[in-house]
Symmetry: C3
């Protein structure tokens, strides 16, 4: 197969494509954030919550580790990405999946004239799933089509997971972002009791506050246009009711919210606003103080072209750096997220903020491991098995604790 064989399918609108990647409600391949409906999100986050609890005990961790030890994953990351790569690797290891990797295309058969499609078909001969990140735009999508075509002719076909392709979307990053947001905006606190809950305390100050994502204000700051994580997360958030998305970036067209994406969000009934500083007013209040969640991103300087460098010199990038003073003005419960890596030289999030309770970016990384493990459990169809085991496990723990009274 060649790219042009898929051209007609690639050029369709996302909505039309989605049924190609699922059988009924069940997802076969993970290519777009748009595939992740609220129902699927709930299913995945429930499993992720259970996996993280089970993994705390040696018994639970060993149960998980035994679940998929007869499965093999290929991590095909020809575009470097330590973080996503290691997160998926750890997720596989949690479930006992054996991993192989191809990261350097120069050592691969592609140097001998092999097309990436032949490489992909080789992987599908040896492995049970391919998790991939490629420099080639829409390549993961093509691979999913190839797998579909193979299945239709009764040949071996395996699930494809998009680990972030080119400037495309990055659905599993969006998944971990929304999982993190949901956990924070559930307002549970380890010290919660019948006498005191964090949520009740917060409601004294914010009487309108509700649990969950619906109705919240989300700020995105930094490299809006080139940040595929923003695109994917905003897409997922647009499924929720009454959500407002505030984009804070330089005015430059290579960095600000692109018009097509703005329209796509508006069409989904989301309120979209653009700002160019944390201090601008939104409904009479400085943006930074109005947010329920702040999603920071790195200026992707490695994608700058020579002419960009020239034009960007005019921009006061300092406006898109966080600092302790700004953080102090944020709502006390509003999480600061960042897809990481952060850029220490640019300093969009200085380390002086790391100990602030609003700094959730390290927890966010660990959440990525749990939700990716949940996604793998779902794709290999063992998530219901985990749910059952968990129900039994927590009942036993509860019974044990009761009997100890």
């Amino acid at each position: 197969m060649e790219f042009y064989d898929y051209e007609a399918r690639l050029n369709r609108p996302v909505k039309v494509k989605i049924p190609d990647f699922q059988t009924g409600e069940r997802l076969n391949h993970i290519i777009f954030a748009d595939q992740l409906t609220r129902t699927t999100l709930e299913r995945l986050t429930r499993t992720a919550d259970q996996i993280r609890v089970l993994a705390k005990s040696s018994e639970g961790a060993r149960y998980l580790n035994d679940l998929l030890r007869h499965k093999r994953a290929m991590l095909y990351f020809t575009q470097p990405s330590t973080r996503t790569f290691l997160s998926f690797m750890a997720a596989c290891q949690i479930l006992g999946i054996a991993c192989s990797e191809v990261r350097d295309p120069s050592t691969s058969s592609e140097a001998k004239g092999e097309t990436p499609f032949d490489s992909m078909r080789m992987f599908s001969s040896y492995f049970d799933i391919v998790i991939m990140r490629s420099r080639i735009p829409q390549f993961a999508e093509c691979c999913a089509y190839m797998m579909n075509d193979l299945r239709q002719t009764s040949r071996r076909s395996i699930p494809v997971v998009n680990g972030g392709a080119g400037a495309d979307e990055h659905p599993t990053q969006a998944l971990l972002d929304i999982y993190t947001i949901q956990r924070v905006l559930a307002f549970y606190h380890p010290r919660d009791s019948s006498h005191w809950t964090l949520f009740d305390e917060l409601r004294e100050r914010y009487p309108e506050l509700r649990k969950g994502i619906d109705g919240k204000i989300f700020g995105f700051s930094g490299d809006i246009r080139r940040g595929r994580t923003i695109r994917s997360l905003a897409t997922l958030l647009s499924q929720f009711d009454g959500v407002k998305l505030y984009f804070i970036s330089p005015k430059h067209p290579k960095l600000a919210l692109p018009q097509d994406f703005r329209i796509r969000l508006l069409n989904r009934g989301v309120e979209v606003r653009e700002f160019h500083a944390f201090d601008e007013l939104a409904d009479g209040e400085p943006v930074i103080e109005s947010l329920d969640c702040l999603y920071m991103t790195r200026i992707q300087r490695e994608h700058n072209r020579p002419e960009d460098e020239e034009e960007f010199r005019e921009i006061d990038f300092g406006k898109y750096r966080l600092n302790p003073k700004l953080v102090a003005r944020m709502k006390p419960y509003a999480p600061i997220l960042h897809p990481f890596p952060r850029d220490a030289e640019f300093g969009e999030i200085p380390t002086s903020i790391d100990n602030d309770p609003r700094a959730h970016y390290f927890r966010q990384a660990r959440n990525g491991m749990w939700i990716r493990a949940a996604l793998l459990a779902y794709l290999f169809d063992v998530d219901a098995t985990i749910n059952d085991y968990y129900a039994n496990y927590t009942r036993e723990v509860r019974d044990y604790n009761m009997s100890a009274l």
Copy 2:
């Protein structure tokens, strides 16, 4: 040790060397295709067939995965080879063997002045088997001698598997090739029944047709001289009765059948013929129509020297490209094989053939994983255990199906 320590042993004829790599009938190291007798081939293919059936069920796959989880393999591939590497890796993972790899000699201790023999001995300290591909000719063979010498002085010694060394042979590729050929030429078909079999149908058209490799005509096309896979496979095929080998290549001495190899094959009683186009006549019939199996190869352009480029310009390489018209003229059962990767730019096998039922090159790759798993099971002496489990497993499945009647 140094290379010259092994010189006398290296310079012996292959036949004389073979006993060095086995104890009685049992192979300790896999270095040459010539070691693989029909008896050993039968043993390995039986185990491979069993492993592939077992791996289909979760229970069987988990049984296999538990078999050798206390063993550790070193994949020492300083000459790049994604396909062979991943195939061995997957084979190890099927049996639960833990893998480590060394692929980049520049990051290894050899940069600090270490000899490859010291590296090898280090591997033998940490691992239970070494599977290797090196740029250094005959290095795998030397390593096997080193291990033999260590064993004779009661020191730690482990099996060495040649994963294709330099221009040398590639015994496990030959193994998977012959395994694929045997499966196709067994003429079993999923739709076979007491009323209909593929073989009976084929015999209406080819009354002389027999099952198996004996008496068949095998065509090899492309880079005959530099294709070590051809050399290894032809060697294995020469063990079978009445086999004819047709070599189809440009007339150039750097690409055609080398004289020494031709004589070696003739001495084994094989009928050898040379052609320069698929349309030349063999016993009055165009070659392409007479073949029972066609083995295509890639022109290994990376091994061209500047003077070759000059001379090769004269050659009409188009003659060594397959196309749907040629394929249509082949016997309906004759498998097309290719060791892969194929060269998309050169196009010896265009993708338009991939869906032809004669195209077996993708299945061939997957067969490689199964037969390598069988080889590892053999080397670690658990193949008999698998045979027993399989007998019991299929009896249970049969009993279950009977009881359901």
Copy 3:
């Protein structure tokens, strides 16, 4: 965090630092050889001895392999080191620990402006232990401080193991060196019986000979100043009673024993002497004949500066090469060790010595795997479990042998 955040802690004397890396007697991080007291050494070597016995049987090997299969290790080796890397990897695999690796900093997030501290914190999100070797001096130590700080604020914290950092110490190399020395100087022999023991035989020739490290003479030859393995091993040896350390090196200040280290050893009550040839006299006897153990090292030419090359040309390096004649003059029981890789071009240990019974450098490498497995078992707190299993296991084997009488 940044380096300067740790500056005050880094600048303290080693002795003051040590409590930072342990809770009571229990080590949390392995950073310095100085942390390894005789009590801890005994604990680790006992476990290592048990692991090597258990690993000999399939049953024992499978028991070990199941112990920590729910744990995940990050091997973070941005300074190349095949040997230490693979040794740790094999040690993890023996205990069933799943491994991930980061070896090439250029493919890592550090290329996107990430600090190594952020990388480290990412690893601590995904993995249960980090084993590291970095080009950055004292980085492993800093990471251990970072983990301590995280633990103090109730955040996720994992053990850090120094796999040899820059010109710093290399505690696990020292561990395997001392483990090897202890095994050799225990003077056990497989042929020992009630009628004959190697030790009794040796005592006829050396009536003063005692078992163990106390009172022995250790020679170190080669690149004394730049050899961090020497520094670490000498530190460990200084804990034993009446030990003498002889350093044999060129007189050049970049290669000979540094003054500060000499003083440190003297302060610990060790007898330290310097020589410049194997033939110099020590108490009237040539050094080579007086040693109870000879530790050879490689001249680390990769650390030479242009001005060094000039000055080193004056040195007769031949004096620091071993040869069969020199070895023949050594005490018959005195082990020759080398941290490996050895430099074949320089030839500090020619291969002609490899078969001498005093050559222990290959066994030494394998010992490294066992003692590192013991260290991992200790850090994950399953060494006592192994001790119990071992006691039971050997009792069963003994009972079985008794019942067979």
